[in-house]
Amino acid sequence: MSRMQERALLLLAVAALAGLPLAASNYFVTLMNYIGIGALAALGLVLLTGVGGLTSFGQAAFVGIGAYATAWWTTVQGGSPWVGLVLAVAFTFAVAIVLGAATLRLGGHLLPLSTIAWGLAIFFLFGNIEGLGRHNGISAIPPVTLGGLSFQSGTAGYYLVWATLGAVMWLCANLLGSRQGRAIRSLRGGTAMAESLGIDTFRIRLAVFVLAGVLAGLSGWLFAHVQRFISPTAFDVGPGMEYLFMAMLGGAGHIGGAVLGSALVTLAKDALQDLLPALIKESGQLEVVVFGALFILVLQHARGGLIPSLQRLLPRATPPVPPDAPPLPRRAPPAAGGEVLVVDGVVKRFGGLVAVNQVGFELRAGEILGLIGPNGAGKSTLFNLVCGTATADAGRIRFLGQDIAGLPARRIAARGIARTFQHVRLRPTMTLLENVMLGAHLRARAGLLRGALRLDRAEERAIRAEAMRQLRRVGLDPNPHELAGNLPLGQQRILEVARALAADPLLIILDEPAAGLRRLEKQKLAELLRALRAEGMTILLVEHDMEFVMGLVDRIVVMEFGTRIAEGPPASIRADARVQEAYLGGVA
């Protein structure tokens, strides 16, 4: 499917939606309104949960805040729904900022648990505030008017809802394709990966959390003015679950999934409400049972949702290879042979175990230094200390003359140190190009708004071209739009190198880049690293594979049991008896 065909399909869908009220019954139009309103709230969860990896059971509470804000303003205060819109957005924004700032540092399952807690607290609050009508809620909410036009009828409401949804989807799609969107998409790769690329994960999490809240608030605003009556029951944890179900059923990582999920859930609910009483007399809440059962089946068997399965049926659009663009600005390299990294007397303890004990070494510009030693020697720990993933208990680490010990990983990345991971950390569901573009995060400026409004195009072109250059350099350019998860492990390591290079680093630190590579791949990697050195790049290599290291590096530091046991050029290291013993084993 080409770009053209994709656009045509989109145009067709928009036209069909625009013409729908002419052909459909009033009842169906009303259903469509609820689908659109639900999709808006579910879209927030698609971004938060599906893309960002943060699960919230409290989305309905945010819908409630938006709905109550505008309902209170337009009925109790007799104000305009448009001011109500401002209030709905402002309130959800404020509450989301406060809740997010308080809870987003919670790890693992504690965060979703906290969403149940505040979701319930907000729900109980609605039912207990006199001014909000307690459990009866607020009725006779006026419809939205624009000039002389009233959105009172189902059809008029339809256009309001779907125009809003369409606009929001366009903005979100732009956002996800932009620099900040990539940062949001990187969150699921784990904090360590994102921070190593210079992404402030807490701020990004907060941004996506607030964004999801505001979308829910918008949905609540529409809900209040379309249904024109609200009560707390719509904002309980139960409906919060339903939004989560919509997002997951559709496909939690896809913008279209929100609409698909909302449509399926809303239509199925409607059908069940008609069908079940006919089948069973006391059907009561049977639709909840059916939904629950379906949701559990989806969770057990198809956690990815429907959109990915549908996408597999359609031919995938192949975007063109990105054209060349003016290069991004580069850092000034240090003078050849100048001091780049100095590690001095570094100590790291884990409980009683001293993982790194008084280790020191120096690294000069344009040099490749190999850090080797048997498993468990403390290489990776030392590595993490330099990159800021862990903090040293004692000792100094200087980069280009400045002390970097104790700085968080993203600040160290900003100074010009890029790294790869021993256990490859890529986003398997992003393309090769996108993964490398993530590496250039710090070389661009665009924020959320510029991304959503497509004001970042020139910058994006430059990043894309840069990413393409790096892919070419490491030899992964034939299929830039392939998903990273489809690469064999060896090539995934190479892709990490390309990502590191995209950051325009002055020092690049590679953690066992040759592990799992075939012989030929190792030779190609060694060639690449030699070429980089020739360009003045400084490289620190943590490696296990002696053969790979020996032919490549200028100097070697050997570690064993957390201490440095030898240092020197490869030939002298090879002849060192202690090294031989450490490697081939000294039991005899």
């Binding site: 949960t49 648990l113 904090t191 069973i280 049977l286 559990i296 993933t389």
Partner: protein
């Protein structure tokens, strides 16, 4: 606030807290062994109470249909799986759960001694949690805590829909187990409340003994501590999970029998009880039984003191307090292991 009033509120709070203690213990137990936050625990409490009330009124309790439905589903899952031990599956999921159901069909409607009523209630509640485990959780036992949590929340909504059908919308209140009451130092203690506290203490003690001193208990703990390690010594996590859920069922049944006479329960009252117990369990750290007991009592106290200040907002406060508690906990265990990327998340 006078000291006398504070004392009264404290007594009320402990009585409230006693309602949540057994549930908090059960939630911790299940979480430790299976990593499932068993949200429907509270529902089971309500079902136990409704079942006991129905038996006392000479009606056949609706729970029998729930047991039969779940047993049927579990059997279906068993047959659909590649499990080759048909006989064992048929026994565990087809025959065993039906025994109390058969007893209920035979005995309901007759005047029964209270102990038989209670035994039958326990018998009917016992199969429910293990069956739910088999149907909802075991197929995804290796999923993240998060996925298991979502399944648990969904499961609550699904089974409460069925509960409305089988129990009806009316609430029930079984007879008090004891009408005795005691006066200590000017404060009046109903016997039922003392019974609840005694049962909580007994359950805490028994759990401590079971996990501390028996091989089965240690095996359950081992599963919780290290799943792979447990498998490598031959402990089947599936069986361990089923055991944990069975114990949870027993705790829920006991809790329902004890608290039912104190507070009228409806088919859906369990959710909030379960969640409050859960708040208590989290306050206690979600990993310690004594901690869960103290947490549950704290929730009870919090409830009674807030209710005095503003009765409408007591639920708001109980749930809102969880947020600062979680933040505090997370701050205290900051120095944890390095996180792994969560691909599985959602």
């Amino acid at each position: 606030m006078t000291a006398e009033l504070a004392l009264l509120l404290a007594q009320d709070g402990v009585a409230n807290g006693a309602i949540y203690v057994l549930a908090a213990l059960g939630i911790v137990l299940v979480f430790l062994v299976t990593r499932v936050v068993f949200v429907p625990f509270g529902d089971l409490i309500a079902y136990a109470s409704l079942t006991l009330a129905a038996l006392q009124e000479g009606r056949r309790p609706g729970i029998v249909w729930l047991v039969l439905l779940l047993a049927g589903l579990a059997l279906l899952f068993e047959l659909a799986g590649r499990q080759r031990k048909w006989g064992r599956a048929l026994l565990a999921y087809g025959v065993l759960p039906c025994l109390p159901v058969a007893a209920a069909f035979l005995l309901a409607g007759r005047a029964l001694p209270p102990l038989v009523e209670m035994a039958l209630t326990i018998g009917l509640i016992l199969p429910i949690a293990p069956l739910l485990y088999r149907i909802a959780f075991r197929p995804i036992a290796d999923a993240s805590v998060l996925v298991l949590l979502i399944v648990a929340v969904v499961l609550h909504f699904a089974i409460s829909g069925i509960a409305l059908m089988v129990f009806g919308p009316e609430g029930a209140r079984p007879r008090l187990l004891t009408t005795a009451s005691f006066e200590i130092g000017g404060l009046f203690f109903p016997g039922q409340m003392l019974l609840m506290l005694a049962a909580s203490a007994l359950a805490t003690l028994l759990l401590a003994l079971f996990f501390g001193f028996t091989l089965s208990g240690k095996a359950l703990r081992a599963t919780a501590v290290n799943r792979v390690g447990a498998r490598l010594v031959g402990i089947r996590p599936g069986a361990a999970g089923a055991t944990a859920f069975l114990l949870a069922s027993a705790l829920a049944a006991a809790s329902g029998i004890l608290i039912g006479p104190v507070t009228t329960l409806f088919y859906d009252s369990g959710f909030v009880i379960g969640l409050k117990a859960f708040v208590g369990a989290i306050i206690g750290g979600l990993v310690s039984y004594p901690g869960a007991v103290l947490g549950a009592l704290f929730v009870g106290l919090l409830e009674s003191f807030t209710a005095f200040w503003n009765s409408a907002l007591k639920e708001v406060v109980v749930f809102a307090v969880l947020v600062p508690v979680l933040i505090l906990r997370s701050a205290l265990q900051r120095h944890g292991a390095e996180e792994e990327p969560e691909e599985d998340g959602l």
